[in-house]
């Protein structure tokens, strides 16, 4: 039964849905990029306001949604990231020929899809939110339709997303065959130990493949570099953070409820995926000349680290992965912010070489850039380190030593390419960076400054954030 009181718990989602319609109508009345942008940000802020004022309780809203502290945390994280991405979008699309306003409708819808995914409690609501997210993303990736790479990337993502969804659907169907349940609480009551038959395992396998595609874990990662490098920087930031985070949270709910991880074969499959993601992500990044592809490989390895927290199978594991998501979101958003900052009339500066000598022409920006890189690499005093630290603690707590050593070794391999970017910036040559949009956009500068402070804050004194996760 839906009560009015229960609806209060999904107010953020309702606000987003209304916001999308309002923005659409606003465009029909008057086309103005700045106005639309502000309206979008306002939508997110109102949604955030409702989220913060919710009572801290775990509540079922119909059979479809379950609002708990993980869900609330993720919703907040997604909304904040969406605000940052919206801020990036305004200066970024200023120079583009396309109509700019419809972009924001798609952005709100994609955010709505991810937020719903994070609180989904049922296969049906999950699939619907997944599709809402994917369909909006096809359009967002191909938004610069005058560029052929953009269309190519959109098509690639379309095919990949469709394949992933069909795998997930098939997997869900098989799980349903065995258990007869589609909501997660129902699945919890189903005792997994006794009935773990072949069909159930096949269902797990299919689901894992589907989620592997969504979260770009190896060996399902092949689409990531192409799409990151071809999509507009703010959209790439969206794919790298929000869509992956939402998928991860549902995966977490699904397997922690089903108890599939206690099954040794399932655990080993996940561990193999995590190990190969960490190694391959860090390995393939080594020779990249293209900064966006490098970030793609970096994000593959980061999702691998995240899986270590997932595989710890403990409360600490959940908390640590949530904290890691926060640190990862901050760092990835900041690095895409940098790329947005330096894009100009001729497009984005995506070659690492383009940043040669940045330290000497723009020392402060380069210092921020360096800190972001160090955060991605996981050096202390940055968010990335404490995230990694928490994951290591969780893994150590349940004795997953092998994964921890893989994490340590592979992240050292990854250091090579993060340091290479820093070294290029440090090299003593005249910087060739010309006009860039960042210098004229106050909001973009502000967003970068906030992310920078956040990265340091998370790395030095994270107590308040840890309490926020409080699961």
């Amino acid at each position: 039964m839906v009560t009015v009181e229960a609806l209060g718990y999904i107010m953020p989602e309702i606000v987003l849905a209304i916001g999308a319609v309002v923005v659409m109508l606003m465009i029909a009345v008057k086309r103005n990029a700045i106005l639309t942008n502000v309206a979008t940000i306002l939508t997110f802020i109102i949604a955030l306001f409702f989220l913060i004022n919710q009572p801290q309780q775990d509540v079922n809203v119909t059979n479809l949604f379950f609002v708990d502290s993980i869900g609330r945390f993720l919703t907040g994280l997604i909304l904040c990231s969406a605000i940052v991405i919206t801020i990036y979008s305004l200066p970024y699309f200023k120079n583009q020929k396309e109509l700019k306003e419809e972009y924001y409708i798609l952005l709100i819808l994609a955010t709505l899809g991810s937020v719903c995914m994070g609180i989904s409690n049922h296969f049906v609501s999950f699939v619907i939110s997944l599709e809402l997210l994917s369909v909006s993303l096809f359009a967002l990736i191909g938004y610069l339709r005058h560029e052929s790479t953009s269309i190519e990337a959109a098509l690639k993502y379309l095919i990949m997303a469709a394949v992933a969804t069909s795998f997930i659907l098939f997997g869900f169907a098989l799980i349903y065959t065995v258990t007869g349940k589609m909501d997660l609480q129902g699945l919890t009551s189903f005792s997994s130990g006794s009935n773990m038959n072949f069909i159930m395992l096949a269902g797990f396998a299919m689901t894992i493949v589907g989620f592997g595609f969504k979260m770009a874990l190896t060996p399902f990662h092949l689409w990531t570099p192409d799409i990151y490098s071809a999509a507009p920087a703010p959209v790439a930031a969206f794919i790298a953070t929000i869509s992956k985070g939402a998928a991860f949270v549902f995966l977490l709910r699904l397997f922690y409820n089903l108890g599939g991880l206690q099954q040794e074969s399932v655990w080993i499959a996940f561990a193999a995926i995590a190990t190969s993601s960490m190694f391959i992500g860090n390995w393939l990044g080594l020779r990249q000349e293209n900064l966006k592809r490098l970030i793609a490989y970096s994000s593959i390895s980061h999702l691998g680290y995240l899986m270590v927290g997932f595989l710890a199978i403990s409360q600490d594991g959940i908390r640590s992965s949530m904290f890691y998501l926060l640190a990862y979101f901050a760092s990835i958003l900041a690095i895409f912010g940098m790329i947005t900052y330096f894009s100009g009339k001729k497009g984005e500066l995506i070659k690492i070489e383009d940043y040669r000598g940045l330290f000497w022409s723009k020392p402060w920006l380069a210092a921020v850039f360096t800190v972001i890189m160090l955060s991605l690499a996981g050096i202390p005093l940055t968010a990335g380190f404490l995230g990694k630290f928490y994951i290591l603690t969780a893994g150590m707590g349940t004795g997953k030593i092998f994964l921890l050593i893989v994490l340590a070794v592979s992240s050292t391999i990854g250091l090579f390419y993060y340091l290479r970017v820093v070294a290029v910036m440090l090299s003593r040559e005249e910087s060739s960076i010309g006009e860039h949009i960042g210098s004229n956009s106050f909001m973009l500068k502000l967003a970068m400054a906030v992310l920078f402070v956040l990265i340091i804050w998370l790395g030095v004194y994270p107590s308040s954030f840890l309490q926020m996760i409080g699961i």
Partner: protein, 526 residues
């Protein structure tokens, strides 16, 4: 609070120097110099006040300590504490910090502000390592040393500096991560035993793991410390990093950063894992002795002056390994003396190489020769530090190496003999420095060569005074650190009663004797 002040002065003046340098470069240098001087004065005042307290026969105590909440969710505290060992090491840090700022006064021209920022933060990291009593705080400071050092090597280094910087960063990073895993292992073990999760050193000392668990956790710590020290077989980053850094970087990395590893061995490995550490004592001493000989051989074969000094440092670090794993009070005294004395002498040698490079633009020994005629003063100083490096009695290094070898003799006479051979081979390369640079027939035009100016005199002169002073009156250092070593000793004596008596005998000697001879007698009495 004084401990926090020490760190804040360094970090704050680092940022200030970076900002000020964009307006006025020499003001930035003065800021850095004054900050370090202030810290040195602060530490010296603690030292002077404390010496009185120690001679009154206090039992083991902490000179100063501060503890605040940091991340209570993880059981991390911001806990700094200073005992005798930390006091000596922080004083050394600030003294050599001043020296390294003075040395780079003229030679660093590009981006002075950022350079000073890095140097000061690097020194802050090192100071923090010497003071941190929370394992995670220790790890944080341990890693803070890394990034500024990387910048110093890459930006202001010589030709192959980028390669050297990478190698340095990767070696220390992976070994640091192994230490992090070990710290976490200790944390989880402690939590599972007592129910309270804490990274605090003193809490962790309360419930130590045993058996194979302790062994593996210890290995995590050992890897980090042995890489940073460095010793066989983890030394391959050393020649590149030492030789390619600018001189201030070489001084800090060789004289201070390697000491953080030695400090880690004394502070963490021995007290936290007494049994496991003893079980690997023989191989560890053997590695130390091998490093002494192998390093000396490599040093002798070098053509590049800086690499020669780098390998000599590698060789001397072998003594520290021998000393720590001999598990005798004498050897621990020696290790502390070696940390100070080697820090001073290696810094002086790198400074001399820098002064020569300033004049002739190369480190190639085959392009030098006959410099004594033009630079008699520099030759004199080089003679002093060459002799220090080969262990001439009367200089601090001799006391250190003698104490270590005397301690090692108690443990195993054969191994000690092997390590003693190091004293002989160190003569070869030390004399080779002198002979190649200052004697022989001149290899190039010497018209331009000028002898030391007043700044250079100040730097080398102050180092000479300290190294002779410590050579004549080593008990000044030994005495301050004695309570800290007593505590270590007592920690071991729970399992070995025989040693308690010996340490008492030794303490009696230290209190009675006022010079070198008493220390020597102590060695004989054992």
């Amino acid at each position: 609070m004084i401990l926090i002040t020490l760190l804040l002065i360094l970090m704050g003046s680092g940022i200030l120097a970076w900002i000020v340098a964009s307006f006025n470069k020499s003001a930035a240098k003065w800021i850095a110099l004054l900050a370090l001087l202030t810290d040195l004065v602060l530490v010296s005042s603690v030292w002077l006040a404390d010496t009185a307290a120690v001679t009154l026969g206090n039992d083991a105590h902490w000179i100063s300590s501060v503890k605040m909440n940091w991340i209570p969710d993880f059981g991390m505290t911001f806990h700094l504490a200073m005992d005798g060992i930390s006091l000596v090491m922080t004083a050394l840090t600030f003294f050599l910090g001043i020296i390294s700022v003075l040395v780079s006064w003229k030679s660093i021209e590009k981006n002075v502000g950022f350079f000073l920022f890095n140097i000061l933060w690097l020194l802050a990291g090192i100071t923090g390592v010497f003071l941190a009593m929370d394992m995670m705080l220790f790890y944080f400071f341990w890693e803070i040393m890394l990034v500024p050092m990387y910048f110093v090597i890459v930006i202001w280094g010589h030709e192959k500096s980028r390669y050297a910087g990478w190698k340095f960063f990767l070696f220390t990073q992976i070994s640091g991560l192994m230490m992090l895993l070990a710290i976490l292992g200790l944390y989880i073990y402690h939590g599972s035993q007592t129910g309270t999760y804490s990274f605090n050193y003193f809490d962790l000392l309360g419930s130590l793991p045993g058996g194979s668990l302790a062994f593996w956790i210890m290995c995590g710590f050992l890897i980090a410390f042995l890489v940073k020290l460095p010793t066989l077989p983890f030394h391959s980053w050393l020649p590149d990093a030492y030789a390619e850094s600018p001189s201030a970087g070489s001084i800090i990395i060789a004289a201070l950063m390697s000491k953080t590893a030695a400090y880690g061995l004394i502070r963490f490995v021995v007290p936290l894992f007494p049994e496991s550490a003893k079980s690997i004592a023989t191989p560890a001493i053997l590695i130390g002795a091998a490093a002494i000989l192998y390093g000396a051989k490599l040093a002798y074969a070098q053509r590049d002056l800086k690499r020669l000094i780098a390998f000599s440092s590698f060789s001397h670090m072998g003594f520290i390994l021998v000393g720590v794993f001999s598990f005798s009070a004498l050897a621990f005294q020696g290790v502390l003396m070696q940390m100070v004395a080697h820090g001073l002498s290696i810094a002086a040698l790198f400074i001399i190489s820098e002064f020569i490079y300033d004049r002739i633009g190369t480190f190639d020994l085959y392009k030098m020769g006959g410099f004594w005629k033009k630079m008699a003063n520099m030759g004199g100083f080089t003679l002093v530090f060459g002799m220090a490096s080969l262990g001439l009695p009367g200089l601090a290094n001799f006391v250190a190496e003698f104490l270590i070898l005397a301690g090692a003799w108690q443990y195993d006479a054969v191994l000690a003999t092997l390590a003693t051979l190091g004293l002989i081979v160190s003569v070869t390369y030390s004399l080779r420095i002198l002979q190649k640079i200052f004697h022989q027939s001149p290899q190039n035009d010497m018209e331009k060569l000028a002898d030391l100016n007043s700044r250079e005199w100040l730097v080398l002169g102050s180092l000479t005074i300290v190294i002779i002073w410590l050579g004549l009156f080593p008990q000044n250092v030994v005495k301050v650190a004695q309570p800290a070593f007593d505590r270590l000793g007592i920690g071991q004596n729970n399992t070995n009663d025989k040693k308690l008596g010996l340490i008492d005998t030794y303490n009696g000697l230290i209190n009675k004797g006022k010079d070198n001879n008493a220390v020597k007698e102590g060695g004989k009495l054992w």
